[in-house]
Amino acid sequence: MPRFFLASPRGIFPLVFLAVFSGKAAALTPIAPGPALPIFLKEHCQECHRADKQKGKFRVDDLPPVIADVATAERWQKILNVLNAGEMPPEDAKQPPKHSKSDFLDQLANLMVSARKSLSDQKGHITLRRLNQREYRNTLRELLGVRTSVSELPADTSTGSFDTVGANLFMSANQFEQYRGLAREALDEAFERRALATVPLKQRVEVEEKFSVPFQRAVRWLDALDQAAARPENAALVSELRSRVKNESEFRKEWTKLAGAPDPVAFGFASNTDFLDEIRRRVGSVKIPETVRQYLALPGLDQGAYLCNFGMVNPELGFSATVQPGPEPSPLKGGSAPAGEYILRVRIAAAENAGAPRRFIEFGTGLGNQSSVLSTHEVTGTLEKPQILEIPFTLPRIAADNAGSAAERNSRSLFIRERGVRDLHYSHQLTLKQRATGITEPTYVIWVDWMELERVQNPGRTLPPGLAALPISLEENAPNPPEQDLKKALANFCLEAFRGVPAPPAYVDKLHTLYTSRRKEGDKHGPALRYVLSIVLSSPSFLYLEEPMPDSKRRRISPQELAVRLSYFLWGAPPDAHLRDLARSGHLSRPEVLQKETDRLLNDPRSRDFVKSFMHQWWGLDRLDFFQPDRVVFPAFDSNAKNAAREEVYETFAHLLRTNGSVRDLLKADYVVINGLLGQYYGLGEVHGDHFRKVPLPPGSPRGGVFGMAAFSYMGSNGQRTSPVERGAWVLRKVLNAPPPPAPANVPSLARLENQALTARQRILAHQEEPQCASCHRKIDPIGFGLENFDAAGQWRTEDILESPKGTPVGRQKTAPVDPAAAFHNGAAFRNYFELRDLIHQRSDDFATGLSNALIEYGLGRPCGFSDAPLLETMLQRGTHQNFRLREFIYALVCSEEFQTK
């Protein structure tokens, strides 16, 4: 029996399998109900719904033997709906036994999934693909060397299929205008980067000047003011003032009236007028707070400043990326720093009393609640021996219509701060912790000496392929190039943009005419040229992966088309020169060359796009962002830990891809791929630094493989409590290749068990009382129970918090032991998590089938249908014979007929 049956509920649609595995997949794979369904219908429905009665104008006695059209599918769907909704059989009629109703619903729901899949089978046809959001972004990057934000474009993922599926990639008038606008922005930035390629920009901020000295100055002056106020000759005045001022700021305003008042200028303030505002910003309108005094008692303030985790002193250290007009001539105007690649260097240290979780900072741009974190970094330096942290990042271009606005200024603000201090609930969590434990965390543990921003130069002025294709002047004010030169340049640019497909002269002529008319309208050469190029980047030949088929007959694709398919599969980006050369020479179609190129592409950093977008979509990692972690319950699981958990998924897959490891390691492994932050979070000893690496696990560790990943546990929760249902359904969908049918609409809600303290397990078992629920939940829930030893944030636990059915925790104190023992529906039993993991690990074939399914859909850009059974079998054969090595599945796909057929 072919291996990918094992996961499927047995005996449900035997006809499907017969048709598929006889190797003669018919034009339409017939989907037929197994024998059990008609028996049930005859017994419970036919009495009223037959030829001579037809209640509700519905008959079940004449249902066609196979589901070969949409109308028949709808008749079966109706049966499924009314049973799920509990409407049929009617209340006063004889009810089927619960288990047989469950079985019926189970089989019918799966039958409908098969029928829908069969009826929507594209029979191998790959619909013309538009560049999706990320491919469009990547293609602009490869062509023009810039990173354009494309978030305004549709995300192309909403129909639930991969974002490569051409049939679901739509186009509209608005989108055309967006493409034009984005292309123009990208071109403007590319030209600007070229013009400023070698312009140096470097600025260093000695942070004490901005973040320590002002506090010292303020406190010294205020202390002096207090001394003056204490003089006997001021007593009457002070008592009069005190009787009428509302706060300290108002009192301070009267400083000139006090005899012997300190002169602000002598204390380092710029003048004696505005300094009180500055003081209010530093200490507030109150007496000098204790936290400020504590701050000023810290060592190293003459040379640097500290970050705080809570309170008013320096939650962030930062500065704005700007250009200071200098004496020497520079093409940079004063103001915001130009777009480009930058490095932020920070001389930084953690104080001795910094606990391990607090030795991390986050870096980002923006201000306050509008800020966004770009990366997290471990601080390993000490006050004796600070480290210099290097953070590379891209500063985006300011959108033209945003120039000079506050939003623009904010987007130029760079900051570092302690991890998670701006997370939702953070301060609440801190307060609770302090109240509960009485232990006050030290406020200041991260010290910074200076921050330095440097723009990465491009001394060789290497041009991105798009600009290199233009052998004409790219200076803004250049005169019109000779007509022939310009046409040649435009044709060259088209060739590059259209991935090697030449543009016909008539099109180039029209582009040229547009350039001329823009010039007549008064545009300079540069803007006129970019106007025209942005049209090229909004044309179908750029936006669509064209695969001609003039006579509508299936054909083998050309080597050039193969190159495009391959690079968009593995890079989400166009083929580079090497790949295009290979295609032009015709060698690419040779299997050994194709496999070698596959390796080269996978070894290239650009394959990161494949890793991220494939894993994100296949495993549904968007769920990580559906809710915020509750930091009151999970103080250590801040947004940084969540991001690291997401990266762990990518990095583990990337590790397998790099080493051509076994995909079985995703189910169970004796190692993890983690960085310092996760090492600390998982309690795995001395792992330091921001890069991910393979770390061996101690014997008996529950980690290793997907179930030990915090991302998995968190996705299988609501941010606070575990959801065994989510976890079980995920395992069926992504691991065992036995996806439960979509959650049915219109299922009546359960009778609630009010006011009873129940474990998650007890609460869920209530589900199974109803046959409609049991039909799926008896398969889903046991798996979830076996994973209950992981809390919502992926930490191991042996006690579950009791909760009442209405969904509020009774309290952290009331717990009950986790009971992970359960059994697969009609299958093996397990006593604990480790046994469950072993049972799942034994079903690696099912996992490999699911992976192959996903690769087919992602790589080919169309759903994987029943007609793909032979391809699926080929991939599995090759993969399983090669010890489940990840690249084998990919080789098998790219070398397949399907991958090379239009």
Binding site: V70, A73, E74, N81, R116, L119, S120, D121, Q122, H125, T127, L128, S151, E152, P154, A155, D156, S158, T159, G160, A167, N168, F170, M171, S172, A173, N174, F176, A407, A503, P504, Y507, K510, T513, L514, S517, S539, P540, S541, Y544, E546, P548, M549, P550, S552, D625, F626, F627, Q628, N718, P742, P744, A745, N746, V747, S749, R752, E754, K806, G807
Partner: protein
């Protein structure tokens, strides 16, 4: 005659995208819209994704008629009680997608209706109206959309770019912010008429250029792929129509904005409020007569300091208590408060003949999802006297009446000529006065 050949190409590439040859042949059927004598009819569809709280929003089915008790969720609408009707019992029979609050809400389509495709859709009710009324206004219709595709997915709307789907069932893109809508409606041209003509001519050349490329690609593609590329051609055709509109409206300056420009970066409640203001402004200035608005839910919750996730919230909507159902109730109330404010404005704005804008508008407020995963008895609130409907009622229709029957009733009631919409089986007579 490049524009003539262009149209010729569009016509020949598919029968479906035949473009009327217009100004190039000197035919200007709607260059000058004569001011209608009676105020025109308008349509406004507002969809709110994840449905409503299981109990506490829709009135009791046991209290049909006009003396029903308002639920807590409807309480903010009390002052308008006689001016809206809730229709209960409506359902789209052909959809079973428990997370799609909007995808087929105005269409009634079966996503599997097209063999060989896992997803397809059909024209939405608003576009039926736009096709007949669009010629009278600067914008045939406007689609508003409350955020990025992530926000919308999180808000329970399902696939789509707005509530609207064109005649071929393809999604129509929306305007994401009230500020962008303001710009679209009221931004003042600083250029002269002559310059505007030049710009339009230039834009035509741009479209002409991309069509030159499309023509080549199209001729090489297989039939199925040609069908896909036609979405692009349709987009270009829509832009052409916009240019024709722009051209025929050049002599008429953009209307003076009756409201100020909304600030950038509003979120949730304030964004919805500002969008409602802009909707009234668009209708009041007769910039368009058909508007759809796909309203955000997830950002609305955030703006109310509710930390429960939007989808997560729906799974507590049938509970008696708990933070999820509390969040859900709060959402109901705030949505109703906002709607009540919108109705206030529609009532306060006067038409040239002295009647209220509300008297010539049909407003629909609803979702394909009732609550949690229930797709039956879709919440449907209808207000406004545009379609001359029976208002002030809790109208309980037979269970599983097609929701498309309601759309058909509204469309016909507003004077549009059509026989059916989606899977409609007829008009709802009880809804008619």
């Amino acid at each position: 005659m490049s524009s003539l050949t262009r149209r010729h190409f569009l016509r020949s590439s598919s029968a479906l995208i035949a473009l009327p040859a217009l100004e190039s042949l000197g035919f200007r059927p709607f260059a000058r819209a004569a001011a209608p004598e009676a105020p025109p009819q308008r349509f406004l569809f507002i969809g709110f994704g994840w449905g409503v709280t299981g109990e506490g929003f829709l009135p009791s089915l046991q209290q049909p008629g006009n003396s029903y008790a308002l639920t807590p969720g409807l309480q903010p609408l009390a002052r308008h009680k006689s001016d809206f009707t809730l229709v209960q019992g409506l359902t789209h029979k052909l959809t079973h997608e428990a997370h799609w609050g909007s995808t087929v809400w105005l269409t009634g389509a079966n996503r599997y209706g097209e063999p060989g495709q896992a997803f397809s859709n059909t024209i939405s009710a608003d576009q039926v109206a736009a096709a007949q009324w669009g010629k009278h206004t600067r914008f045939a219709s406007l689609q508003l959309n409350g955020g990025s595709s992530t926000v919308m997915a999180d808000s329970g709307h399902g696939p789509g770019l707005s509530l609207s789907w064109d005649a071929r069932g393809k999604p129509i893109g929306g305007i994401d912010t009230p500020q962008a809508l303001f710009q679209r409606l009221f931004s003042k041209e600083k250029t002269s008429t002559q310059q505007l003509h030049a710009r339009i001519a230039q834009e035509r050349s741009v479209l002409d250029t991309v069509l030159e490329n499309a023509r080549g690609v199209h001729s090489r593609l297989g039939r199925q792929d040609q069908g896909k590329l036609e979405e692009y051609l349709q987009g270009i055709r829509d832009l052409e129509e916009r240019l024709q509109k722009d051209e025929s409206w050049i002599e008429r300056p953009r209307p003076k904005a009756p409201v100020g420009e909304p600030s950038v970066g509003l979120g949730g409640r304030e964004e919805i409020r500002a969008t409602y203001d802009m909707i009234v402004a668009a209708l009041q200035t007769d910039s368009t007569r058909v508007i759809t608005y796909r309203q955000p839910v997830s950002t609305l919750l955030k703006s109310l300091d509710i930390t429960v996730g939007a989808h997560d919230m729906t799974h507590g909507q049938e509970a008696k208590e708990g933070e999820k159902v509390e969040a859900s109730r709060r959402r109901d109330v705030v949505q109703s408060e906002l709607l009540a404010g919108l109705i206030d404005k529609l009532k306060s704005v006067r038409e040239p003949d002295g009647s209220r804008l509300f008297d010539h508008t049909t407003l629909v407020f609803g979702s394909n999802i009732r609550t949690v995963h229930s797709l039956e008895n879709c919440p449907t609130l209808i207000a406004g006297n545009g379609a001359r409907l029976r208002l002030g009622h809790n109208l309980v229709v037979p269970k599983d009446t097609p929701l498309c029957n309601a759309w058909l009733t509204l469309l016909k009631g507003s004077g549009l000529s059509l026989e059916r919409h989606g899977d409609s089986t007829g008009v709802i007579k009880e809804l008619l006065v």
